[in-house]
């Protein structure tokens, strides 16, 4: 919080209002508990988690800056920051999340028709409707625009056939925002942005088992799936621009959180864990000097990243939405997360190499699984290499290989 914000009387009055509302509505049993994580494993919140979700949804504060007319909180960015500070203060986490909030919602507000906003925004705001992303295909990964899932115009509907892969949470999703091919004669200009009800006949979802043992992603098959025409978002064959805009929101979400989110089971600092597993010398230094130097390097990198996040936030205050600099955040943040996991594994030695069962603590096996799962962060949402291409081309102005 900057000094200017502290002195702003209007903001301070909002702070008092937020504080009062939170103290009345936040169930103490959910202190430090992340309701959104339930959704990621397919569970609907119950009990206090449901109560908290419903209250925040109704108030619109789960999507604080979204307009009031679609159920959002209608707060200014400054007010949203105050709300976030007040929630942090009491250990209250936002129960409204997922791809609908982070990725689809902001895109819907920018590109959706009035009718589409009215239809789809309230379900995201209340946390009732879960969205998944139908982008990648087996032969369209980094080269996303090579996608081949067809949507053929059949008069009153589109007939969709094809296969998507890495559809996160498809097995639990109610709706899918999907990039489909509506013109075979052009690459980028033949793609449309389609909203597909996951309950439609002809959709088959198969979870993919990852090297970490988890299955957060699916293969999704579309066979003669009928999609009403009103579910086309934006112009026909104009989906690529919308799809890319959504990826900017995704990158902003993925990289920015890497410093704190995306961690394994550990809650202590890397240095503290190292002291426990490796021991200290007579002056209190981590006994393995080689490791100690690399921990210091990592912590400096983490500090630099945190400072950059702060600086970007400060600079973005006057600006709406993410900019091209989000590509820097994703690579820096994901590399940091992977370095941290590698360090932790090395620190834990053999204890960090358990799969499950006796002989390993929960923190240890969680760290192992997070190490493996974290290998995905330089692949999904645009690979490390694609992010570097974007930096080189868009920010540095370097030309394509001719």
């Amino acid at each position: 919080m900057s000094a200017a914000e502290k002195l702003d009387p209007e903001l301070e009055s909002f702070r008092a209002e937020a504080r009062a509302w939170l103290s009345e509505n936040f169930p103490q049993s959910l202190k430090d508990f992340d309701v959104v994580l339930l959704g990621m494993i397919g569970q609907r919140p119950g009990g206090d988690a449901k109560l908290w979700t419903d209250r925040m949804g109704e108030k619109g504060w789960g999507t604080p800056t979204w307009p009031r007319q679609y159920g959002g909180g209608g707060l200014t960015p400054a007010q949203a920051r105050v709300l976030s500070q007040e929630m942090n203060r009491i250990g209250a986490k936002n129960p409204i999340g997922g791809m609908g909030v982070m990725m689809f919602g902001p895109t819907l507000l920018e590109y959706g028709s009035e009718e589409q906003k009215k239809r789809h925004a309230p379900g995201i705001v209340s946390g009732a409707v879960r969205w998944c992303q139908g982008y990648s295909e087996p032969n369209a990964g980094s080269d996303l625009a090579a996608l081949r899932t067809q949507a053929v115009d059949k008069g009153d509907h589109y007939l969709v056939n094809g296969q998507k892969v890495w559809t996160s949470g498809a097995q639990y999703a109610d709706w899918c925002f999907c990039l489909v091919r509506t013109d075979n004669s052009k690459k980028h200009e033949g793609i449309s942005f389609l909203l597909i009800d996951m309950k439609s006949p002809g959709i088959e979802v198969r979870p993919i088992r990852l090297i970490s043992g988890a299955s957060p992603f699916c293969e999704t098959f579309f066979t003669d799936v009928k999609v009403p025409k009103e579910n086309l978002m934006g112009p026909l064959n104009g989906g690529w621009t919308i799809g890319k805009r959504l990826l900017q929101f995704e990158r902003a979400g993925l990289g920015g959180g890497a410093g704190s989110a995306g961690r394994g089971g550990d809650v202590r600092g890397v240095d503290q864990i190292a002291k426990d597993y490796v021991g200290v010398d007579e002056t209190g230094r981590i006994a393995d000097r080689d490791l100690r130097a690399r921990i210091a390097q990592h912590q400096m990198d983490a500090k630099a990243f945190g400072l950059t996040v702060q600086r970007a936030q400060t600079e973005a205050k006057s600006n709406m939405g993410p900019s091209a600099t989000t590509s820097i955040m994703k690579n820096a943040g994901s590399r940091l997360q992977q370095d941290r996991a590698e360090l932790l594994l090395e620190i834990m030695g053999h204890q960090g190499l358990g799969w499950e069962g006796a002989g390993f603590t929960r923190e240890e096996t969680d760290t192992t699984r997070a190490w493996l799962g974290g290998k995905a962060v330089t692949i999904y949402g645009g690979t490390y290499e694609i992010q570097n291409n974007i930096i080189a081309k868009r920010i540095l102005g370097l030309l394509d290989h001719q």
Binding site: S142, L210, I211, G354, G359, A376, I379, Y384, E385
Partner: protein
């Protein structure tokens, strides 16, 4: 590649062909998914022993072929290519080396022929915590009647859950941290007072934590002066394991290189992109450098040269760094498919970490290298 004798070339070719036919990566997958409690396939191990692999470093008079460590390294490199889980490292390399270096004629006669025939699984039990630290041995061995009684713990013992013979490094004098006062003991796998806890490891191989409660042990070598033999044994195990890691890294690299040549994105194979080409070239460079270190260490052992410790630390550190680089790039360059369990990349990634942790990782060996060099 080292210059090989005809016998060595034949053995390597036989290993290459057996591994690709009988023990592809799917064999490890099967082992993992079937929940095999041994951590290796006993039928496959019998075949390996029949081909003479269990007795490669055992002299002919004890039932082996006496071909030496470089030859065993050639076989380990081939089994490493497909991540074959077997007692080669625990039994044919580590435990056999300890018996060869310190065993009495009677001890050798009792165990080496059985090992060479593949009838006995043996292993070395050294570490007691999360990290390799042979100097810090605390497990106590106290005089008891005509022998010794061992009490304490050993952790992450390779094939420790099934071994018929455990070679246990114990403290008969001094305190943890002292190099003197360490003695090696032979302990039967079914000894009274021994509790074995099998662990589910990330690389799906058989490792176990052992608890000793007044377990009877027979001295191997001389009492209180076991550290030098232990250190020499560990060095040979390190060099052999480095050969296995080199094999795994070579295969991981070749699989990735094939993918770079076949995966099409943006209308061209992704191997046309310089960003990937340069990383592939870097991996190839590191593979070649590491091969030199591994072969030098194994040859030095066969010649009983005086720079064995430094070369073994060099080989183990280089092989560990290489294995991490290549297995991580294998996942990254394969993209999403590399993250899936049905692809092999994850298996190489997991094995790289587990193999590094055995007998000391890069950090341990860089420090040891510096100490050996006098700084």
């Amino acid at each position: 590649m080292a210059v090989l004798s005809e016998e060595q070339s034949m053995l390597r070719d036989a290993a290459k062909s057996w591994v690709s036919g009988k023990s592809p990566v799917t064999a490890l997958r099967k082992l993992r998914d079937s929940g095999n409690p041994d951590g290796f396939d006993r039928a496959a191990w019998r075949e390996m022993a029949e081909m003479g692999w269990a007795g490669i470093i055992i002299p002919e008079e004890y039932g082996g072929s006496g071909l030496g460590y470089l030859t065993l390294g050639l076989v380990l490199e081939e089994t490493g290519r497909t991540l074959t889980a077997s007692p080669l490292v625990s039994t044919a390399l580590a435990a056999t080396t300890a018996l060869l270096l310190a065993g009495s004629d009677a001890q050798k006669k009792e165990w080496l022929p059985k090992i060479a025939e593949g009838k006995a699984i043996a292993t070395l039990a050294v570490d007691e915590g999360a990290h390799h630290a042979p100097e810090k041995i605390a497990l106590k061995a106290a005089k008891s009647g005509s022998g010794y009684a061992l009490s304490g713990k050993k952790s992450f013992v390779l094939d420790g859950g099934v071994a018929d013979l455990l070679i246990v490094a114990a403290r008969t004098n001094g305190k943890a941290g002292d190099k003197t006062g360490i003695t090696l003991f032979l302990v039967a796998g079914n000894a009274k007072g021994l509790t074995r806890e099998k662990l589910k490891s990330v690389d799906s191989r058989g490792v176990a934590n052992l608890t000793f409660d007044n377990v009877e042990g027979a001295v191997l070598g001389s009492a209180d002066n076991g550290f030098d033999v232990l250190d020499a044994t560990l060095d040979r195990a390190r060099a052999g394991l480095a050969a296995e890691m080199l094999g795994s890294a070579t295969q991981a690299f070749e699989t990735t290189l094939d993918y770079l040549k076949t995966r099409v994105q943006f209308g061209q194979v992704i191997g046309t992109f310089q960003a990937l080409q340069h990383r592939a070239a870097k991996m190839f460079t590191d593979l070649e450098l590491t091969r030199s270190c591994v072969e030098a260490a194994l040859s030095a052992i066969d010649r009983n040269a005086n720079d064995i410790p430094a070369l073994c630390s060099l080989a183990k550190a280089k092989a560990s760094d290489l294995a991490h680089l290549v297995s991580n790039e294998m996942v990254q360059m394969h993209g999403g498919i590399g993250m899936t369990d049905i692809h092999d990349a994850g298996l190489y990634l997991k094995r790289a970490r587990a193999a590094e942790a055995s007998f000391g990782g890069s950090s341990y060996h860089r420090d040891r290298y510096a100490r050996l060099m006098g700084y």
